[in-house]
Symmetry: C3
Subunit: 342 residues, 3 copies
C-alpha cells in the first residue's frame, strides 16, 4: 500500500484531498474499490466517475469530482502508464533454453535469453541478452534480435530480418515475407525475386498478426519507437519514420515513406510510392492517394484536408435537399420567363 | 439412404412431390445427382435450380421448381444446417494427449481432451472435458478452456485468457495480446501496461487469423453465441454483446460496446468509446464514428441511416448533372436580369 | 561479373552506351555502385536516377539518363525479374525430413521433400516431389501439396485442402477454415456445417497471414497463376479465376466469382454472390456491391465506373461552393420575383 501523496510525487502531480490515503492498485472506475486508484482520462466517462467506489481518481488539470480525493497529473494518461508499471510490475522473466526448442548450433545466444518450447532459431541467427523467443516462434537463418526484445508465441522472422532492442512482437507477427512484386506480361504474372530485408529499429511494438514484407532489393524499415497495432500490413520497401502510430488494420503499399510521428488511424490505407511528412495524421478508414504535407490532417477516399472532407460530407448529407431546391428554383425561373414573354 | 418425407419431418417441413424418394446426401445445385438433396436458399440461383440433376431440392415457402420434388421448410437455411449435421456428421474426435505436446505438470486436463503435437499448455491452465487443443497451439499460463471447445491449429491464448464451452477457434486466432495503449508525450509513445484479460463466453466461433486484445485493466468480452469471421480485430476493453455477427476484416476500436445481436458486415469499422444498441446493423465497408441506436441500420463513412446514405449516394452520382443544371439556371437568371434592366 | 551486352541479350533488350561494362549484381538507384545495374521502372524516381552511382541503369523504351550506360528492355520490370533470378539465384534447398517433425506413417512423401522441425503432416496427406513444408506448418489429414510447392513457416492446411504445383504459401497462411455460415433464427445463430474444400491450382502465391475458407459443400477455388498478397480474405465457395491479383487486405465474400485476370487493389472488397468479368479492375479501398462487367475499371463505395467516380468526387469537393451558388441564385430569383410584382 502506498500513500496517495507519494504516488503523486512519483508522476509530478499533486493531491486534491487526502494525501495520506492508502492505495494498493489501479482499477477501472467500474471495478475499483476503496484501496484502488481509478482514472478519468476521457471526459466521456465523467458520469461513471461520479459513481465510482474508488479510493481516489487520477485526473488531468481542472477536473473535479465531488467528494473524491484526486491525483491531478499534468499528463494523466502518461501518469497512468507510470503508475501501472509501479503498482503492477510485470512478472519476472524466467531465462533458459527449452530442451524442446530447436536452436541451431551456429546461432549466437546472448546472456539470460529465454527460448520457449517448439521455437526454432536458425543457423547464424543471433538473440540478444535477455531477449525472449516465444513458443513456436521461428527465427530464420541470419536473423538478429536485439537485447531485451520479446517475441511472443508464433512469431516468424524470415532469414536475415533484423529486430532492434526492447521491441515487442506479439503473437502471429510475420516479418520478412516476400513483397507483392510481379511483372505482368501477356496476362501472366512473373514473380520478381524479393531480396531485401526487414529492419525494425529499437523500441518498436508490433501487434498480433501484423505483417511487414521485405524489400525487393533495399530494406523495409520500421523506425525507432514506432508502434504498430494488430493486423497491419506494411509492404515492400516502405520506410516508416520514428515514433509513428499505425492503428489496427491499416496498410501501406510499396515504397511509400512516412516521416516522424505520422499517425494512420484504424483501417486507413496509403497507396504506393508516396511521401507523408512529419506529423501527418490520416483519419480512420481513409485512403491516401497523394503525398501528404508535414503536419496535415487528412480524411476521406481519396484523403483530403480533414476540414474540407467534413464540410463536403455535411454538404453530401444535404444534397437531396439541394436537388429539391434547384428543382424549385428552375420552376420559378420558368415562371419568370413565361411572364416575361407573356 | 433416407426417405425425403422423413427428412422433411425432421426439420418441420413438408414434401411437395414424392415423399418416398431416397436421399443419401446433400450437394450444391451444380454437383447434385439423383440421390442428393440440393438447396435453393438464395433466389439468385433460381436458374441453376431449373437445371439441377438433384433428386430433390430444399426450398423456402412458396418456391416452385417445375418437375422437381421439393422439401419445403419454413426456414430453409436452418433446415439445411440441421440436415447437413444429420446426413454428414463430423468425424469422431480421437482423444489423447500427444507425447509431442508440452503440457505443464500444473495444468488441469479434463476427461477425454485431445492435445495435438507441438501444442503448449502452460502452468495453471485448464482444459475442459472433451476440449481439443490443435497442433502448435499455445495455451498460456492460467488460461481456461471450457468443455467441448475446439482450438484448431496454431491458436494462441495469452496467459489468463478465458474461453467458454462449445467454442470454436480457427487456425491462427490470437486472444489476449496487448491493447494498443500508449501515452504520447513530446512526440514519444510510452507503453501503457495492459493487465486485463480476454473473456470469451460460451458458443462463440472465431475465424482464422482474428485477434482480440486484452483490456488495459478490465476485460475484453465476447458475448455468448457471437460469431466472428476471419481477420477481424477487436481492441482492448471492447464488449461484444451476445449473438453478434462480426464479418470478415471488420474491426472495433478500444472500449466500444456492442449490444445483443449487432451485425458488422465485411470490412466495417467502429471507432473507440462508442455504443451500438441491440440489433444495430452496420453495412459493409462502413465506419461508425458515433453511437448507433438500437435497431438502426447504418451505412457510409461516417455511417448514417442506411436510407439516407443510399439517397445521398444516388444524388452524388447525379451531382455532375446538378452542377450543369445550376450553371444553366444561372445563365437564364442573368438573361432575365439583363432584360429587366434593358 | 557479366558484360552489360550479355545481360541485354538475355532479356531481349539493347545497350545504349558501353556494352562491355562489367556488372556483378542489381541494386536500387540509391544503393548501387559502379559494378551494379540499377533500374528505373517508375518515372517518379527519375531524379534519383540522375544521381545514382550505378554502373548502368535498366530502363524502358525512350528513357534517357545523361551520362549513363543504359540497358533498354521492352518490358523493363519483366527484365528486372529475369535478371534478379540470373544474378541473385535463390539459395539451394536442403531436402530432408527433420527428426523433430511429426509425419504420420500414412502420409505420402515425394522425392527430395523438405520437412522442417515441428511441422505436422497428417494421415493420408501427400507432399509432392521437391516440396517444402516450413517450420511449424500443419498439413491436415488427406491434404495434398504439389511438386516444388513451398509452405513457409506456420502455414496451416485444414484436412483435404489441395495445393497445386510450384505454389508459394507465406508464413501464417491458413487454407480451409470453416466458412462463415450461420442460419439465424429467433436471434440465435446456428452453425451451418462446412464440408467443402479449398483447392489452390498451380503457380499460385499467397502472402503472409491470408485466409481462404473452405466451401460449404462445393470447393473454394484459387485459379492457376493467381497471386494473393498479405492479409487477404477469401470466403467460402468463392472462385477466383486464373491470373488474378488480390492486393493486401482485400476481401471477397461468399460464393462470388472472379474471372480471368481480375485485379482487386489494396483494401478493396467484393460482396457475396457476385460475378466479376475477365480483366475487371477494382480500385483500392472500393467496395463492389453489384456484378462487374468484363474489362471494367470500377471505384468507390459502392463501386461504379472509375471515371464517373472521379467526376463525382471532384464535384463533391466543390459541393460547398455549389450550395453557396444556389443560395445566391435563389436571392437573385427572389429579387426578380419582387420586381415583377412591384
Amino acid at each position: 500500500m502506498h500513500r496517495l501523496g507519494d504516488l503523486a510525487a512519483r508522476v509530478g502531480g499533486r493531491v486534491l484531498g487526502d494525501a495520506s490515503r492508502r492505495i494498493g492498485g489501479i482499477a477501472t472506475l467500474e471495478d475499483a474499490g476503496p484501496s484502488d486508484l481509478a482514472f478519468l482520462t476521457n471526459p466521456k466517462y465523467r458520469k461513471a466517475a461520479g459513481r465510482t467506489l474508488a479510493g481516489a481518481v487520477l485526473v488531468g488539470p481542472g477536473v473535479e469530482i465531488a467528494g473524491k480525493d484526486l491525483l491531478e497529473a499534468p499528463e494523466p494518461y502518461l501518469a497512468l502508464a507510470e503508475l501501472l508499471d509501479f503498482l503492477h510490475p510485470a512478472p519476472p522473466r524466467t531465462p533458459g533454453v527449452s530442451p524442446l526448442a530447436d536452436v541451431d548450433g551456429g546461432a549466437r545466444l546472448g546472456a539470460e535469453v529465454s527460448i520457449a518450447p517448439f521455437a526454432v532459431v536458425g543457423a547464424g541467427a543471433s538473440v540478444g541478452d535477455r531477449a525472449t523467443v516465444g513458443a513456436g516462434s521461428v527465427v530464420g537463418e541470419g536473423a538478429e534480435i536485439g537485447e531485451d526484445t520479446v517475441l511472443h508465441a508464433r512469431v516468424v522472422l524470415y532469414p536475415r530480418t533484423r529486430v532492434g532492442a526492447r521491441c515487442i512482437l506479439h503473437a502471429g507477427v510475420v516479418l520478412g515475407g516476400d513483397g507483392f512484386g510481379f511483372a505482368s506480361s501477356k496476362g501472366r504474372h512473373r514473380k520478381v525475386p524479393q531480396l531485401g530485408r526487414v529492419v525494425v529499429e529499437d523500441d518498436v511494438e508490433i501487434g498480433a498478426q501484423s505483417a511487414v514484407d521485405r524489400g525487393t532489393l533495399g530494406d523495409t524499415v520500421i523506425g525507432r519507437g514506432t508502434k504498430i497495432d494488430d493486423l497491419v500490413m506494411v509492404a515492400h520497401g516502405v520506410r516508416v519514420g520514428p515514433d509513428c502510430l499505425l492503428v489496427a488494420q491499416s496498410g501501406i503499399a510499396g515504397t511509400s515513406r512516412l516521416g516522424r510521428g505520422v499517425v494512420l488511424a484504424g483501417q486507413a490505407g496509403v497507396a504506393g510510392h508516396l511521401g507523408l511528412g512529419d506529423g501527418a495524421v490520416v483519419a480512420a478508414k481513409s485512403a491516401v492517394f497523394d503525398d501528404v504535407a508535414e503536419g496535415s490532417f487528412v480524411a476521406g477516399i481519396p484523403a483530403v484536408d480533414h476540414r474540407a472532407w467534413k464540410k463536403a460530407q455535411a454538404a453530401l448529407r444535404r444534397l437531396p435537399d439541394l436537388r429539391a431546391e434547384v428543382r424549385a428554383l428552375r420552376l420559378r425561373v420558368e415562371k419568370l420567363e413565361r411572364e416575361r414573354e407573356g
